[in-house]
């Protein structure tokens, strides 16, 4: 069994509108988790600093675990639901060139964005069994996609990227 090659240059065929694969989605999600946690931590530190400045008391909101956890859950909900309802993509998804759309390709509705956000943790249950559908199903949907009636597609124009890539290549010297 030979190893399939990994594409180094941007693919020749345009991928806009095609179902996004698991690796891109995973990396985008990891980037979103990092970004949302980073923003939350900075906001928490900023808030602690502001309270210290105003009251003069040393307050560390991060040490109040229940409060911080509740704040984190609310923040994560806002982070994902707001961005998905706004344009169908989060910061991580925008970087990786993917977006969430309805099953038929229409823009995602705010209702779908909220359902997708609430049901996202379900896909993590049983060691991430809910994500297996991204690899196995023909429309590559996870559990939360199925419940929200959404799919994730590439919004990145690979053809334009390939043109940019080709433009930056050194012209071949004639033999």
């Amino acid at each position: 069994m030979s190893t399939p090659p990994v594409t180094a240059a941007p693919p020749e065929a345009g991928r806009q509108g095609h179902y996004a694969g698991g690796v891109t989605r995973l990396v985008a999600f990891a980037a979103d988790v990092g970004a949302s946690w980073g923003i939350f931590t900075l906001a928490l530190a900023g808030l602690s600093f502001a309270i210290n400045l105003v009251t003069g008391n040393q307050v560390n909101l991060g040490s109040r675990q229940i409060l911080a956890l509740a704040g984190l859950v609310i923040w994560e909900f806002i982070y994902f639901a707001y961005q998905w309802s706004l344009g169908g993509k989060t910061i991580g998804m925008a970087v990786l060139g993917i977006r969430v759309v309805g099953r038929d390709g229409d823009a995602i509705t705010p209702r779908q964005a909220i359902i997708r956000t609430i049901t996202l943790p379900l896909s993590f249950l049983l060691f991430g069994l809910g994500f297996l559908g991204i690899l196995l199903h023909k429309d590559r949907h996870a559990w939360h996609d199925r419940l929200a009636r959404t799919v994730v597609v590439y919004s990145w124009d690979a053809r334009a990227a390939r043109l940019r890539w080709l433009a930056k290549q050194e012209p071949a010297t004639p033999a």
């Binding site: 509108g17 694969g21 698991g22 690796v23 990396v27 390709g105 919004s155 124009d157 690979a158 890539w165």
Partner: protein, 189 residues
């Protein structure tokens, strides 16, 4: 008495006419010389052409003309082949045409949002001003797509299945392949 004279004159004229060979006389007349003496212009100038035209029922003439048949008999290809398109184009003042076009109105009719969404024009413009960032983005995305394909191929191999007949994406986003019309026989021969 008068009636008698008239009857005699009539009789005489008939006898004379019977005796004359008109054809012989006409054959001896030089028609060319005769016509040369006729001032055709003078005759035409005396004709009231307007009055003549007024008496012609043009509509009736037009009604009797089969325009379709005339058009069918015209070889348009031959006429077009004789037209010097280059000469016509050279005579066209393109600048004047452009000046008459309301560009503002044309632009207002363009759905810029849709254009940017479909062509990623905005991204391209943004990338043109940030070369390094665009290069990094392209590399990350290309690697992601490559790894997606790599994983998908392995999964298909392990499960011993083919995903070739799977839809690549939602129907509204993925353009269906345009069927190529069959070539005419003379073109394929």
């Amino acid at each position: 008495m008068e009636q008698l004279v008239e009857s005699i004159a009539e009789r005489v004229v008939n006898l004379v006419l019977d005796a004359i060979d008109i054809n012989a006389i006409v054959s001896q007349v030089d028609m060319d010389a005769l016509l040369a003496k006729v001032d055709v212009d003078a005759i035409v100038s005396k004709v009231d052409v307007d009055s003549l035209i007024d008496r012609v029922d043009v509509q009736k003439i037009i009604d009797r003309v089969d325009v379709d048949e005339i058009v069918n008999r015209v070889d348009v290809d031959q006429i077009v082949a004789r037209v010097d398109v280059e000469a016509i184009i050279e005579r066209v003042d393109v600048q004047a045409i452009i000046e008459r076009v309301d560009v503002e109105q044309v632009i207002q009719r363009v759905d810029i949002d849709k254009l940017v969404e479909q062509t990623e024009l905005g991204t391209i413009i943004a990338h043109s001003t940030s070369g390094v960032a665009s290069e990094v983005l392209d590399v990350v995305r290309a690697q992601g797509v490559g790894l997606d394909d790599f994983v998908a191929r392995w999964v298909n191999r392990v499960l011993r299945r083919s995903s070739e007949d799977w839809p690549p994406g939602p129907a509204k986003l993925v353009n269906p392949p345009v069927p190529v019309p069959a070539l005419p026989l003379e073109a394929t021969a």
